[in-house]
């Protein structure tokens, strides 16, 4: 978040230290409604769900002794749950990498070496999937991935190319991963596009005039200038991939659970305490991954400069 001091632009030459306090909003009290809403709708529910995750399943045999950490122990020992956690990590990492590559291709195509800005219809086409919701997209992927659909053929052609056996695509991890990448790409593009658009055209011109080829200029000049956008986009992509739900539900089927679909399934099978434990793990995992990722990127940044 780059928020420069707006007081800096004030023409008040007589004051050495410019006061901010007279500006509307300078007290920071505007944060109050947001803090209140977050407390009611995020913080308190988070505590409630954590408490719930320590309880025994209400349907379980009451004679059994329940220790507070039992749900978590189960989560980290039973293959079904472990499997879901490992799959969550795998899918979200693949999705982050793939969606960054795809959105980079789109953004570079839209911005690099263009004298004029592209028409807004191009951006609209990218945001259309967000605006029309996850349902229509999931339905579309189902249509593409059913046996003998276009997506089915493409995936199996790629499988054949790498020597994997052909087979169904719908209700597999492949379908789910592709669906999740699709869900993430628009958000990555939206984060990347403003940064790429702001790269000064003259820098590319200088590089070209000095005899560097367009593709090399792109790699050596344009991409390094987009770095902050790439970092932000990949963090957003990771967070979105971890929390993707609708595509995972309809494309992965019941056997390829990730944590979000596991939570939904546990609720549907009347196991609210395990669902609460899985939710808690998902939140902690998300916060930890995003924080760790941010630190790593910050360290890389520090080493470069």
């Amino acid at each position: 978040m780059e928020v420069a001091s707006s007081a800096r632009s004030l023409p008040l030459p007589l004051l050495k230290k410019r006061p901010r306090s007279y500006l509307i909003g300078a007290s920071g009290l505007g944060l109050l409604p947001a803090v209140l809403a977050f407390g009611i709708a995020v913080l308190w529910p988070a505590i409630a769900i954590f408490q719930r995750s320590l309880e025994a399943n209400p349907l379980a045999d009451p004679s059994l002794v329940h220790r507070p950490w039992d749900n978590y122990a189960k989560l980290f020992s039973e293959p079904l749950y472990l499997d879901a956690m490992i799959r969550t990590l795998r899918v979200s990492v693949i999705c982050t990498v793939a969606s960054i590559l795809i959105s980079l291709a789109i953004v570079v195509g839209l911005t690099a070496y263009r004298r004029k800005e592209v028409s807004s219809i191009w951006i609209f086409a990218l945001i259309a999937p967000i605006l029309s919701g996850p349902i229509i997209i999931a339905l579309g992927w189902i249509g593409l991935f059913v046996n003998d659909g276009i997506g089915f053929m493409v995936v199996n052609a790629v499988r054949a190319l790498f020597g994997f056996p052909e087979g169904r695509v719908l209700d597999t991890e492949v379908a789910m991963t592709i669906g999740t990448i699709h869900f993430v790409v628009p958000f990555a593009v939206l984060t990347l596009y403003p940064v790429a658009r702001a790269v000064p055209r003259e820098l590319l011109d200088v590089s070209l005039t000095l005899g560097v080829r367009p593709v090399a200029t792109l790699w050596r000049v344009f991409l390094p200038m987009c770095r902050s956008g790439l970092i932000a986009a990949s963090i957003i992509a990771l967070a979105m991939a971890l929390s993707a739900f609708v595509n995972a539900q309809f494309l992965g089927g019941e056997r390829n659970l990730v944590l979000t679909t596991l939570v939904s399934q546990l609720i549907n099978t009347f196991n609210p305490t395990m669902a609460a434990a899985a939710s808690a793990v998902l939140v902690v995992l998300g916060l930890a991954l995003v924080a760790a990722y941010g630190r790593i990127l910050a360290r890389l940044e520090a080493r470069r400069t």
Binding site: F38, I47, P129, I142, S243, V263, A276
Partner: protein
Amino acid sequence: MRQRGWTSWRILRALSLFIGYGFVLGPVLPVVYNAFNASPIFPAPFEGLTLEWFRSVVTSEQYMSGAIVSIEVGIGATALALVIGVCAAFAVVRGPAWIRGGAATSLLMGPIVIPQIVIGLAILEAASQLSFRLGLAGLIIAHAVFVSPFIIRVVAGALEVQGSNLESAAMVLGSRRTAVLFTLTLPMLRPAIVASAVFAFTLSFVNVPLSLFLSPSNLRPLPIVIYQEMINTRTPVLAAVSILLAFVLLLATGLAEKVFRVRILQ
């Protein structure tokens, strides 16, 4: 500036755009095609044009009541999120340093990092602790918190760009702070507020994971109705209803851009 390497760059660019946009828009094709296809199975080979599926959507009571619930939730959530978001935008841009740094970041990233399905479930748990029946209020507050970062981002950006010079001038000339706020600052922010409100309404209207656990059976927003239908059956009616939903929302976005003369999609 015609030098070596331009042809390969042109081909590369066309190819990357084609693949990128093909990937993004590809899934829409089978939905459109099956919504007009006469076959009662989804997906199916072409058997003739029909509008039958659209007719059954418009005459369906559950879809129409779902749409009404979605509109109610969308309006409520947008209004609440506007209050939260516009106030917070002022604090984020002009507040003390600790707000401009850490608080702003966590405010903007929080609802994105925490999975929506978890937020929905957690709100349900919190309400059940107090044995409080949620109804519309739960949906509205969950959606409002989820969409408010988008409003904060857009409004804070506009506030940053417009600066404070005009406000200072007005105050130096003796205007009162409330008068400045309501006759100068907020009117100048109008494009950003309208644009982010339309975007917020749309995001709320199409949301599934937040509403999933917060919708009692008599109060299901349209996407939840479609979602639950889709779990059991796959029919062209689902294609028709999701196309109608997308079409109406995209049309509304376009109209809002024209009527309010704003750019919703920066």
